[in-house]
Subunit: 333 residues, 2 copies
């Protein structure tokens, strides 16, 4: 069995405490196999070996924009990740950070390498180019004893893994087509994520999207009736499926529709995997996410599933870079 019979809960940290980080903390709260011991944002961090209080941390962040204000475990810091690494005892981190700028996640990985910390890192990166930057670090991660799992959110992540499983029926995979629908009632709770989406729209890029004020985002959404329609997005599902040997990246396409004014999804998120069987038949497997599952559930759930799987690898001395397409996530109780 690759599943570890965990006797002690894993001590887990969450970096970034926006919408995604807060959802991650809520997901961890009832888990028996993981304890949420650490959080960090731009302005501070909080650490408590016996577990942090989710409501308190969220209140601190909402009220004063940093978990560093959480009493008594919070500490304000301009080097929050570095300081947390030197103070906390953490088995693995979920990097719930918006990758803005696009080099940010790789920079964070370098910070971990430099610190001498050993453990499991999981990100929910979106862009192909961000994974390419991490690929350049794979030897350093390996030597540092860090087991880094990239692309472990919803897409890439959950849907990439489903595509990797589905591909098994085929002698050749012709196309992997991911179409997501996201409905959020209040985009303001996901400011960074929305800007990442806008960066995928024609006429925008990462820098332009990041530079937009909340008013400019609101003005754009007013023009589109709250809808962001995204096609041929740069999503790391492509490089991940290519690295897993399933198909070349040009056969993978990602598009979607984000409704920023309605929690109901404008369409059911799905991935279609088309290929040729050994008998020469062309067919398509389809994996469809239930509409009632939120972006937060579909991103953070898999992220911790991969963190648990990563810990099993780490304990067997396997470090370096892995993707969601090559590891089976493990269910976290």
């Amino acid at each position: 069995m690759i599943i570890d019979r965990v006797t002690e809960p894993l001590k887990v940290g969450v970096l970034g405490f926006g919408g995604l980080g807060q959802a991650a903390a809520r997901i961890l709260a009832p888990k028996k196999e993981m304890t949420w011991v650490a959080a960090a944002d731009r302005k501070g961090y909080a650490y408590e070996a016996t577990g942090l209080d989710v409501d308190g941390a969220i209140a601190a962040y909402r009220g004063r924009n940093s978990v560093g204000y959480l009493e008594p475990q919070g500490t304000l810091s301009n080097n929050s990740i570095e300081d947390l690494l030197s103070h906390g005892d953490v088995d693995g981190y979920f990097l719930a950070l918006p990758n803005l700028p696009n080099t940010f996640m790789a920079d964070v990985a370098r910070q971990f390498i430099k610190s001498g910390w050993q453990g499991v890192l999981v990100d929910a990166l979106k862009r192909t180019s961000a994974v390419e930057q991490l690929l350049e670090l794979q030897n350093e991660l390996k030597e540092a004893g860090i087991t880094y799992l990239t692309g472990c959110g919803a897409t890439p992540g959950l849907l990439t893994a489903a595509a990797a499983v589905a591909a098994q029926s085929y002698a050749e995979v012709h196309s992997v087509k991911i179409t997501f629908g996201v409905g959020i009632a209040n985009w303001e709770a996901y400011r960074a994520t929305i800007r990442e989406d806008i960066a995928h729209m024609p006429g925008y890029n990462v820098e332009a999207a990041k530079a937009m004020s909340d008013e400019e985002v609101a003005a754009l959404l007013n023009k589109t009736n709250g809808i962001l329609a995204l096609e041929n997005m740069e999503h790391a599902d492509d490089i991940m499926l290519e690295l897993a040997g399933i198909c070349s990246r040009d056969r993978v396409t990602v598009g979607g529709v984000v409704d920023t004014r309605n929690p109901k999804k404008p369409l059911s998120t799905n991935v279609k995997i088309t290929g040729r069987t050994f008998e020469g038949k062309i067919s398509t497997h389809t994996f469809i996410l239930g509409d009632e599952t939120s972006m937060a559930a579909n991103v953070c759930g898999p992220a911790f599933g991969y963190l648990k799987a990563g810990m099993a690898l780490h304990r067997r001395g396997m470090s370096g870079l892995f993707t969601a397409a090559e590891i089976m996530p493990q269910f976290v109780k």
Copy 2:
């Protein structure tokens, strides 16, 4: 990367040479990463280090009921597995054997343990009780240096893996419901598989089904117009998902419809994974197999994907028993 950059093709054997074993050989033939070097059935075996000829082997089996008649690589033997193990150099075997009687697969595993052979074994077992027998062997497999992956066909296998991925969105999994449709034009080519299906029908068991003559099977199918409707089947998906910590086995149900007179599937094979998200929403993810994919493609494709993944584990010194729900299969080129 867990994916090995394979420099030399894996030397793969197929045990059992009925419909499934023959399809397995056809799937292997064009692969660059695997060479089909060995086959065995009840009456003989064939081995060729540079690769066996698929058409020749199938002709030998169809004409005279054993690959042992293949010239010049075939050998007739009443201890075909044992003899093959002492003569061949094989990295991994797909056990394409009907598990009749229900203790057969565990007996074969014992033969491998006893022989001193080390490598990867993959089965496409169906029944929960058969996996339970293998669980009793897990320490022996580990000590023997055998990496054994069980339940690696379609269901259990492909659909179990899809369920394990899908479960990640949920805080709790309420049900996993597998419904398969199988259409085969000529059941005579899958004599053993059909008997395994019949064994799941009310009023039958494994022994009774195995004892049926072809005429008795044909008479039964005449009564049902060629349709076998199966409900609440004993399928190892349940124990595999339980072992992976996803849900208790009573939450997993498997049923299906087999049309023995029509290659078109009577319904699209699918798995529905229902659970509760961390926010308290109940939802269902669905994974649907394309109708054009055959049972052979959906069983043998995953089996070799798990064999490749098993080899990556084996080379890292990981032996013992694993299931399709805890390992990500790797695509075989």
